[in-house]
């Protein structure tokens, strides 16, 4: 199992040499563990964890929960210090860093007091490495692709469970509990999942409520299991009972839009165009106004150690796609036909196009 990512470590050392950084810190907190895990793939328990990569290639770490010492030490082979308060650990980990140029991956999320401590130690404000590291992370290694593929398979099985157990009279949160229990029982480390049910009054997904599913409902979900740190996502919609004509009409538009994005995605394509071709399908059908921020968020996004990585698939975002990026195309939005609807697959960019890592049938499901 990938723990210390050697390919990434090599790339990060090259980045440090290019930028003239002496020390690169990887700061993760409970929300953004990915900033730490892109070097040390350990799902830490404490509030924060920090890895220190020196330009000589040494890796040492500071953790804020005693249960994190052993797994992080096993992953890095270097020294690991436990401190209840990260400020104390920073002073220890950077004790030899006087006048060093220090860059931090995850600087923006780092508490201001920690940044100040780094500044006091090195006598200069640390530099943000977040964008540079994200650019490296965007293109996946073969091992990362294997983990994301496994996560995509689990997303398929999770959706199968979702469609199997959903029924009228069940609450949204009971449905989520069934799926959550299933993906965890089958190896998910975590799962990001949103849901909604109902008709044209549904304008967004959110955490599950106590609303009971009813005959005629559209039930929508974005299911995102995590395997060994890596997320894959699937978006599908099902109806409780036979679909109405409007639900079928709506689904056909979403399927056409998602396919347009999938057909275009390849190396060299501007991600803006991947959004545009999806939106153009809505425009063609007279629903162009529902592609804006009032009704939707994004037409997809990159996937990896974080379930919502950049670049976002938006007409306003310009980024040239590269081989081995993993992107979900999901033209999820509100339509007056049947309310908010979702449909999306996890796509791996190949030499000549992309392949879907999702194997779930592309159809409007029925419970």
């Amino acid at each position: 199992m990938l723990k210390l990512n050697p390919e990434r470590k090599k790339e990060f050392l090259e980045l440090m040499a290019q930028r003239g950084w002496d020390v690169l810190l990887f700061y993760g907190d409970t929300w953004r563990k990915d900033h730490f895990r892109c070097l040390v793939s350990v799902c830490f328990t404490g509030p924060q964890a920090l890895a220190v990569l020196t330009k000589e290639g040494e890796v040492r770490a500071v953790v804020t929960h005693p249960w994190d010492v052993e797994p992080v030490k096993a992953a890095t082979g270097g020294s690991v210090t436990y401190v209840p308060r990260l400020v104390d650990g920073l002073k220890s980990a950077l004790r030899d860093a006087g006048n060093a140029v220090i860059a931090i991956n995850g600087l923006e999320q780092m508490e201001a007091r920690f940044v100040r401590a780094v500044k006091e130690i090195s006598r200069a404000a640390p530099i943000s490495a977040t964008a540079d590291v994200e650019e490296i992370r965007r293109v996946k290694t073969q091992e990362e692709i294997e983990w994301i593929t496994k996560a995509a398979r689990l997303a398929d099985r999770g959706y199968e469970q979702f469609a199997r157990v959903a029924r009228a009279g069940m609450t949204e949160y009971e449905l989520v509990a069934e799926v959550e229990g299933f993906v965890k029982a089958h190896g998910a480390e975590d799962n990001f999942m949103l849901v909604a049910s109902g008709g044209t009054e549904v304008t967004a997904m959110k955490p599950p409520t106590a609303r009971k599913l009813q005959l005629g409902d559209s039930v929508i979900t974005e299911l995102t299991p995590q395997i060994n740190g890596y997320y894959a996502q699937i978006c599908r919609t099902l109806t409780i009972g036979p679909p109405s004509q409007k639900q079928l009409e709506s689904y056909a538009i979403f399927a056409e839009a998602q396919q347009a994005g999938q057909d275009l995605l390849r190396p060299g394509v501007d991600i803006s165009d991947v959004a545009r071709v999806q939106n153009d399908v809505f425009r063609k059908h007279g629903y162009g106004e529902y592609t804006g921020a009032q009704y939707t968020r994004v037409r997809g996004h990159n996937l990896g150690l974080y379930p919502d990585e950049f670049p976002h698939v938006l007409e306003s975002v310009h980024y040239t796609c590269k081989k081995d990026m993993v992107v979900i195309c999901h033209p999820n939005t509100y339509l007056p036909l049947s309310g908010y609807m979702v449909f999306g697959d996890t796509l791996l960019v190949t030499d000549t196009g992309c392949v879907s890592l999702s194997q779930t049938e592309k159809r409007l499901f029925q419970a």
């Binding site: 907190d29 409970t30 929300w31 799902c43 328990t45 404490g46 509030p47 924060q48 804020t64 929960h65 005693p66 249960w67 994190d68 010492v69 052993e70 797994p71 209840p84 600087l107 923006e108 999320q109 780092m110 508490e111 201001a112 007091r113 920690f114 940044v115 100040r116 949160y173 009971e174 989520v176 509990a177 069934e178 959550e180 229990g181 299933f182 993906v183 965890k184 029982a185 089958h186 190896g187 480390e189 975590d190 799962n191 990001f192 999942m193 949103l194 304008t203 967004a204 959110k206 955490p207 599950p208 409520t209 106590a210 921020a293 009032q294 009704y295 968020r297 919502d308 509100y334």
Partner: protein, 311 residues
Amino acid sequence: MKRGLVSWDKGELPVDELAARLAAVHTVARRKSVDAVVLYSDVWRSNDARYLSNYMPYWNRAFIVVPRDEKPILACALSPRVYPWIKTVTVHENIIASPSPPATLFKLCAERGWKWVGVCDLEGLPSDLHAEMIAGKVELVDIPRSEIRPAPTEVEVWMHARAARMAREVLEKELPAAGERNDHQLTGRLERLLRRAGAEDVVVLVSDGQGPPLPAEGRPVGPHTSVVVANEYNGHWAKVTRNVAGVTSSLSESGGATALRENLSGSYSWESLDDATTAAVISLQLQIRAGDRHVYYGDTCLQGQEGLRVL
């Protein structure tokens, strides 16, 4: 992640309780001579905002802005499409779409003529937000968390106790029959039961007796297995640990066992706590020697000057 039931049961968390907490913040604002008090919130640093308004983000960042003697304003980066739902589970009537919460705060300051703003744990803000804040034209006053959140109220303690009961019940039901499963399967069963019972979030860690509790890795459940269940019920965490061997210990007199204290309602949910007297709801986890291995046992307790009380 917060993908369980997020709700507001006014029988459990009365409107009056939240009103009293808000009134206490107004008192702090007057004492500090600030025009408003700001609390930061994100997916995993949600305890303070939840305490004040029952706001629970499932994603993204937010500020709760409490004008002196007024109702709180939520400045959040979530889409306005979910504001109707937020209004059903919080006290918030005024929600402002805020890609940048500091920018929204400064706009409010300009509109209302605010000159002094108190920020709960100013240096604890994420550094990008902190940089935006200190670059503004408003005087910022740091307000320690302990002034916003003093000793736990009876309602808080009751909610933590409810979360702990849920965790204990599923562990006592599932552990005796867990020997035929691996730790993934056991984790899945615990998650399913807790989420069906209304848990908002669940984190399960498992130890095989040779190392610390970790996320499940597909290892078989054996006689030295210990299971840690962190269960969040409507914003209130509990952490309960039991072991297959049935080893228990007195939490108030842990003897030779190694003890770990965590603050369950700190800025982050599981901060290590080296102070054994501060009034707080804590998790106390014991590592107990069992032959050539060790097992874990722990529970959720109310800590105070008079000692510990298991909730």
